[in-house]
Each structure stands twice: as C-alpha cells, then as structure tokens.
C-alpha cells in the first residue's frame, strides 16, 4: 500500500465534489479496492468513502413496484431486506463471498467494478434494472460494456439501483472452486411480457444476455425448452478452472437449473 488520504462525506453532493479532486477515488466496501491497494496496483491520493452517506443506504419499494437499493448497501443487507420482495436477488446476494465480504461489499462497488465473474451484473442485466447515478439513469443493457468496463464517467457515482420485480426468478451459480466467484452464473427472470436470461463468469465480453434461451423460455418456461439450444464456445473465457467448451456447456446446464429452481 502507498500512503493516501481518506474522506467520509455525508451526502452524495459532497462525495461528488470530493471526487473531482485529482487522484481521488470512491471507496465502497473496499473488498476489491483494498486488496488492489495492498498489492500496490493502484495509488489513489484520496479515497472518498461512501459508507457514511445515508441517502445511499437501504432497500425499499418504489410506487411503481420496483425494488430500490441504495448503492452503498451491503450484500448482507440486500440478502436480508430483499428476501420478502425479490427472493432471486436475495439468494444471489447471500451467496457472494463469505460473511466478511457480504458485511462490507456493496452493490454499487460490485457494479462499478464489473468483474466478469461477479454476481450482481447477472441480476441487473437479467432483470433490465436501471442504474442511477449522481448525473443520470442508465439502462442495464447500456451499462455493461465488457470486462471491468461500464458506462460510468470519471468521477460518476452510482447512487441507487432499481430492479423491476419478476414473477419468478433464480440465480444459479457454479462456483470457481478457488475464488468461489461465478465460473458461470445465470440469472433467469420471468416477467408477464417475457423471460430474460443473463450470464456472468463465462464470456470474455463480460455479462451477456442469452437471447435464444430468452425466446425459448418465453414460449415455454421449462428446462426442456432449452434442449435444442447450444451455446457457442467462441469468446468464452478459458483459464485454469474452465475451458471455453466447459463454460459454454455450463451456461446451458445452469440456465436449466435456474428455471427449475425459479420461484
């Protein structure tokens, strides 16, 4: 770690202001950023902690029935407070990392980071959620732009995420054995007007929608509907833990299992 300053603003406005200074960087739960600092892979001059901003905390329902989650809300809080409204999302949050990670890590940090093996991106893309920042609202389909890349501008802060609540949903995660991030994770969400399927962990382009499965499942929401489909291994990640072929295969298996388990 190199030496740095830390600030803890109490409002979004103050945070945005603090982030305008040279070498400033937002700090969510620090579960990604702190290890990066320890390894001397990043050297911000100022860390702007978002943890004291009340307006970025908590889970609630909006008037139009969407589930709104403050961007500085921890995974543990989502696991607990979303359970009654959106079981698929609560289940996802409850399987991120371990208790220590869930008690510190935040949904905003996870989405800003956009690790290709992270869980939340599958839920956000799989529900067509909206990312709300200090400056604008970004549709999920526009937000994710490849591994570790998002639509966020320099200094832009995610303040909230709004999820349309599906009739049925589930997240099926096949863990990478060492890190227990998603080797392949599939979020399936069934709405009155159709099914969305988003896949994380598998592709070199980061989280993606599996459109063929969406069409098939919209017609018949059962694992059998996937029988005729297959996933192209081209562009899938290959590493110690999974070849492209294996990941492509797992996408189909996990999608089927998510459909079976959806509630």
């Amino acid at each position: 770690m190199y030496a740095f300053e830390i600030e803890r603003p109490g409002t979004i406005a103050d945070a945005v202001k603090a982030l305008q200074s040279d070498g400033a960087q937002a700090l969510g739960g620090g579960q990604t950023l702190i290890p990066t600092l320890k390894a001397r892979l990043a050297a911000p001059d100022v860390l702007v902690s978002l943890s004291a901003i009340g307006e970025m905390q908590g889970v609630c329902l909006s008037d139009d029935g969407a589930l709104c989650i403050g961007a500085a809300t921890t995974h543990a809080t989502v696991a607990r407070d979303a359970a009654a409204h959106f079981a698929g999302l609560a289940h996802l949050a409850s399987h991120i990392g371990d208790p220590a990670v869930r008690n510190r890590g935040t949904i905003g940090g996870s989405l800003a980071n956009n690790d290709p093996a992270a869980c939340y991106p599958a839920a956000v893309l799989g529900t067509g959620a909206t990312i709300i920042t200090n400056a604008r609202q970004i549709a999920a389909d526009d937000y994710f732009q490849g591994m570790f890349t998002t639509a966020l501008d320099e200094g832009e802060v995610i303040t909230e995420v709004r999820f349309p609540i599906p009739q049925k949903s589930h997240y099926m995660k096949f863990v990478q054995p060492a890190s227990r991030f998603a080797l392949v994770g599939v979020f399936v969400a069934k709405y009155a007007d159709g099914v969305r399927v988003a896949v994380t962990g598998a592709s070199e382009e980061g989280v993606f929608r599996w459109h063929e499965a969406e069409a098939a499942l919209s017609a018949d929401f059962s694992p059998k509907a996937l029988d005729a489909l297959s996933v192209d291994a081209d562009g899938m990640i290959g590493d110690l833990h999974g070849t492209p072929d294996y990941r492509a295969h797992l996408v189909k298996v996990m999608t089927g299992r998510a459909v079976t388990a959806a509630t």
């Binding site: 390894a39 001397r40 096949f174 054995p177 060492a178 110690l240 999974g242 294996y246 298996v253």
Partner: protein, 789 residues
Amino acid sequence: MPKDTGIGASDKRREDIRFLTGAGHYTDDIKHYGATTAIFCRSTVANGIIKSIDTSAAENMPGVLAVFTGADFADVGGNPAGWLINSRDGTPMKEPKRPVLAHGKVRHVGDAYAAVIAETELQARNAAEAIVAEIEELPAIVDMAAALAGDAFVHDEIGTNQCFDWGWIEDNRAATDAAIKAAPHVTTLELVNNRLVPNAMEPRCSIGNYDAGNDSYVLQTTSQNPHLTRLLISAFVMGIPENKLTVIAPDVGGGFGSKIYHYGEEALVLAAARKIGRPVKWTADRTEAFLTDAHGRDHVTKIELACEKDGTFIAFRTETMANVGAYLSNFSTATPTFLHGTLMAGNYTVPNVYVNVKAVFTNTAPVDAYRGAGRPEATYSIERVIDKAARELGIDPIAIRRKNFVKPDQYPFTSAAGLEYDSGNYDALMDTLEKHIDRDGFAARRKASAARGMLRGLGLNAYIEACGIAPSNLVGVLGSRVGLYDAATVRVNATGNLSVMVGAHSHGQGHETVFPQIVGEMLGIDPASIDIVHGDTSKIPFGMGTYGSRSLAVCGSAMVRATEKIIAKAKKIAAHMLEASADDVDFKDGQFTVKGTDKSVSFGEVALKAYIPHNFPLEDIEPGLEETAFYDPANFTYPSGAYACEVEVDPDTGKVRVDRFVAVDDFGNIMNPMIVTGQVHGGLGQGIGQALLEGARYDDDGQLLSASYMDYTMPRADDLPFYTVDHANGTPCTHNPLGVKGCGEAGAIGSPPTIVNAVIDALQSAGKNVTHIDMPLTPLRVWDAMQNA
C-alpha cells in the same frame, strides 16, 4: 474403557486456550526495541541473467539503513541438501550452490536478489521498488521431460538438469524386468502427483538480533526444528559458531514440512542485524509464501503392476521424474527417494520391486517434504494401479488387496523394497473397514443417487508408511548427512513440578498436552504440574525437531528414557530417606514404599530432598533431580491403514462431492485418542484437498498461475464430509518404549487414492471408459474426462 487421565486419556489440548484467546506468541508478535524491517526484491521472471543491480537511489531514500544484493553473500556458503543420493552409475548427485541471495542468475519467480532494511515497512517497500535490476530474461525451463532433453540448464555450472538418476534396489532391476516380461498380466498407469503449496496459516517470519557485547546472535524464526536450522547456519552457510547462535522457534502456526528447512531470509536478517547493530524482522506476505515456501509432491510417474490372472502380485516397477525446483532444499533429495522408493512394496508380499527416480531441476520454486513426503506419492501410485488391475482382471478391490497382504504371522517382514516392517495386521484393518462402510447397502445408495441424477462411487485403499523418521544407522546408510535421534531433559524442580525440555517442536500437534500425560503417568503426578519447553536452542537438548511423524515415537521415547532415569535416581534418594536399600523400594502411583512395609515417601518429598540435600550420602548420590536422554530407535515405525469413501459425481458439471469417508488406522498404542483423531482429520483435509482441489500450476514461462487464493483452492469445511475415524486396531511398535507409531501424516497419505478410486468407480458405473484422471479432480477435469470417454 477410555481413561480419564494419563496415557490413553483424551485430555483437552491445553495450548489451545492461548491459541484461541489470542495469547499465543508467534514470531511476528515479537516486538524488539529499535526493530527494523527487511523487504526482499524478488524476480518476476523464472529464468534470467542478472546484468546489473543499481541500489544507489534506494540507499538514499528516507529511513533506509542497509541494502544487500547477492554480491554481499558471494563468499559465504550455500544452503546444503541434507541427503547425499548417488545415481545408478555410482556418481554423486549434482549439488549446485543455493545462495542467500541470487547472484548472477535468478532461477524462479520469487527468487530474491536484493533486500532493503529500513526503519519502517513502508520505507523498506518504497526503497525496494527503487532498486533497478537489469535482468535478461531467458526461456523458462518448466516441464521436466523437456528439462532432461534440452541443452539449456537451470544451473549452467553442472551442465545438466538431472540432479540424480537413482535406482532402488538397483540389484533387483534385472529380476523385476524379467518378472514383468514373463507375467500373464501387466497393468500400466501413467500419473501425476500434483504439486502443492503448503499454505501454513502463519507465513514465514524471521527476526535477527546481534549482541555486539558478546559477539553473539539470536534468530527467532518460524521453524519446525531450531537445532537443525542452527546447525545449517553455523556449519554451512554463515560460519557463526553454534555457541554464538541461539535459534528460537516460538509458537508456530502450522508447518506441514515447509518450515523444516533453512531459508535464505534467515541468514539475511542475521547478517543485516550485525551490519546495522539493530534487530531486523522480515515477515512474508501471502504472495511470498506462495512463491517461495518449499512446495510439495510434483512427481510424474509410470507404474506397472505385473500379476497372475488370479491377482497375485508379481512385480511393481516405477519410473518417476521428481521435480526439485530451482535449488535443492534441505530434504528434497530424500523425499522422492528414501521416503518414496523404499515404500513401493506397499502392504504386500510382492516379490519384485524396482523404482527409478530422476530428480530434475526446473525454474520453479524448490520442492521438498510436505505432510506425508514421498509416502503419499508411493501410496498413490501403488493403490491406483492396484485398482486399475483389479478392474482389468475382474477381481473385487478388497479381495485383490487381501490376497497380497503381508499376514500377521509374517512379522518382522522384509519387503521387496528393503524395509523391515516390525508389526501390523492389514486384514484386521480391512475387517474393521468393511464393518464401517456397509458395503451391502452400497447398491441401494447408488440407486438413490442415480434417482437424483448423480453417479455414486466407492473407493478403497490400503497404505503403509515409514515414520518416526530416525534410526541414524539406517538413514546414514541411505545417505543422510545428519543423525536422526532425538533428546529430552526432564527437570524435576524442588517443589515437585516439572519442566521437560524436548527436541521436538510443537506447531499444532499438541505436545504440550500429550507429553505431560505420559510423564505424569510414569511419575504418578498430575500432568498439570508438568510443562513442556521446546523451540529454544539455549534451553533444550540437541534434538532434530518435528516432521515425519517422529515427535512421539522418537522424542517421546527419549522423554520416557529420561523419566526412567529420574525414577531410578529418585528411588535411591527415597531409599536413603526410608533407610532402606534401593532394591527394596517400590515406586507406584507417585509413592516410594519399602517392600513389605507401610513406610513410604511421596515423589514430591523426594524432589524436595534432592534439592535440599541435608544429610545426603553425597558420595553415592548427587544433589538435584534432572536427567537427559538421547534416543535413537532401531527402525522406522510402520503405521498402516485401510480407507474407504463414497463420492457423488454430478455428470452434468463434473463436480465431485465426498459423501462419506472412513479411515481405519494402526498407529500402535494411542496416547491421546482425541488428538490422534484430530491429526487424522487434518491429514484427511489435506489429502482430500490434494485429490480434488489443490494444484500449483506454472505456465510455460514459469509464472505461477495459482499464486493466490483466487486460483489455488484450499479445502474448506463444506468440501469435506463427516469422517468415521477408527484407530482401535493398533498393533504396538515392537521397538520403542511406548509402542507408538506416529499419526501426523497418515490422513494425507491414505486419502488421495481413496478419492480417485471412488471417482473412477462412479464414472465406470455410468459406462464411461475412464481409467484415470490426474489430481486435482476439479469439475473441469472430471467433465473433460467424461466427454472424451
């Protein structure tokens, strides 16, 4: 009947109170006045020529006290290998120098070529970053076969990458070849014993102190054997006289072998402490642990089993390439040879065994003994090929093993690999195993699994190991450059309590609990009044430390002998006090009694008398009550066992779940069943980890791909089943006073083949023609194997 105190009782581990309440004293917890920090510059390439190292900027940075490079140690000695192995042609192994800091060349990622000493860690890290090393990268030598065939060398001065080409027993080679040629059935298996990272919870840490007034040094370090470290530093590396160097290993948070060895960082902190006249501390971070702790295993093996059609074994023949990494670590030449080749007859009466091991230098971290050390490699090869042979011949896997077991009336039994097994009863172990596993219910369980889409497999294994690593005579013949006895001093204090100074080192094993149970029972006193002192060369007698499941069998025996001497002397004192002849005095339950009378004195009264020798027959008895014994056993000890497990394989993902695991072991007599069970659990965790999860992988450039917990899979609680552990079948060791054999490594030795055999069984049950998968059996590998079958 389980006892509630003394030998055989499950006393709770007294040391756990301090470990669990944060009151332990690990090396990094030690704070010295004026302490400074050492940080190392480590190679990021696997193989390279050091063209230049510019330390000028670093030297002038704030807080920097000293900078060292390899040149500063060019004239001191190398860190030696402890065993000399001769090749088949009689030539000695190649022993390139292992320097304190790399000089001329870096030879693996993580190889240290410079070090900075500064007031604070931050200053040291900043200065280390400012050191500019020009290193010309060379192609990495990673694959062992390529290393042997190629003409680029890890150590140019030896002109080869082959450390040795060893044959065991060379005289049996021709007979084994002939037997295999003539055999009605030969089963061949090629396999890899995967490289492991030891992953002790506590990373290595060393503090050097120099006392200018006495020209003496103290090294506090994470070691399993402080005397060995002192000997290596004194006699080989730095030439500090042993009487001027104290080595202290305080609480140590796990070793698993990786802390047996002397490492360059220890020499560096001593040299630095002398240079700057202040204490110097280095604490490894987790990345350094991954890159530089001696790794384990890493064998590539071809094994053949020749047998009759009825499954009678005729011969085992093995060819192994053993990776020793970039430098020879202290035990690295013993592990693939005498801890592996000598066990290649397993539990069997097979008449012909021949083992060939080529040790190979590569641009990877040094490889050395890791929990089990050589014996897991032997067991894995033997028990995997037996399973394959049984399948080929259509013989039940238990029946084929029983058919070839050494029988109880054959002891002492000299195996075809040259060891003399003193005791055992492998059929009895198998009987107990069969009782536990409910084989009759397996078909129903398999069906129930199938109903959930899962493939269930049953895997079995029998193992034998040689431990209580000692007999100096034997290891001397086998090439050891040191003796392997151990020592203990029993000091009875005037007020009747005891300090027992032992050469073994406890870093999780529970010596502080078990050793007092034994001495307490022998003396008839409360174990709570006995404390074990270990880990400090200025306090303990010269012992060889803890590894190879030797602490109880070797050091515990020394302690028994010293306690016997205490009893003998105390009898004399008691006789004097009771005005009787020593021959007429009995000692029982802590009381000395004159035979046939009610005249008696207690052990405590005798102790007091020893130190207040008023009216003492000084010409017959010296004052004081303190005795030392060195113990060098007659043989290794030979624990054995029979293991079984059931696994479920998910055919859609390749994921393996261990459903149940039974470990039946013969450890001889048991001193503390709870601690033995705990040792087995720990070993099983590591063995199942090796089988399913763990694997250190280098890429072609010699970069360690699995260099953090993001990619190196440690076993976690939910990866492991509940175990059934049974060690009631003990056959006592015939040659040590406690009849004990050692239990520290068994779990890690017996479990990997058990698991792999079970997974193969599961896949075969689904009609998949999969005969072998290399460990770790990750979901990817299992799924891949199923696709190609």
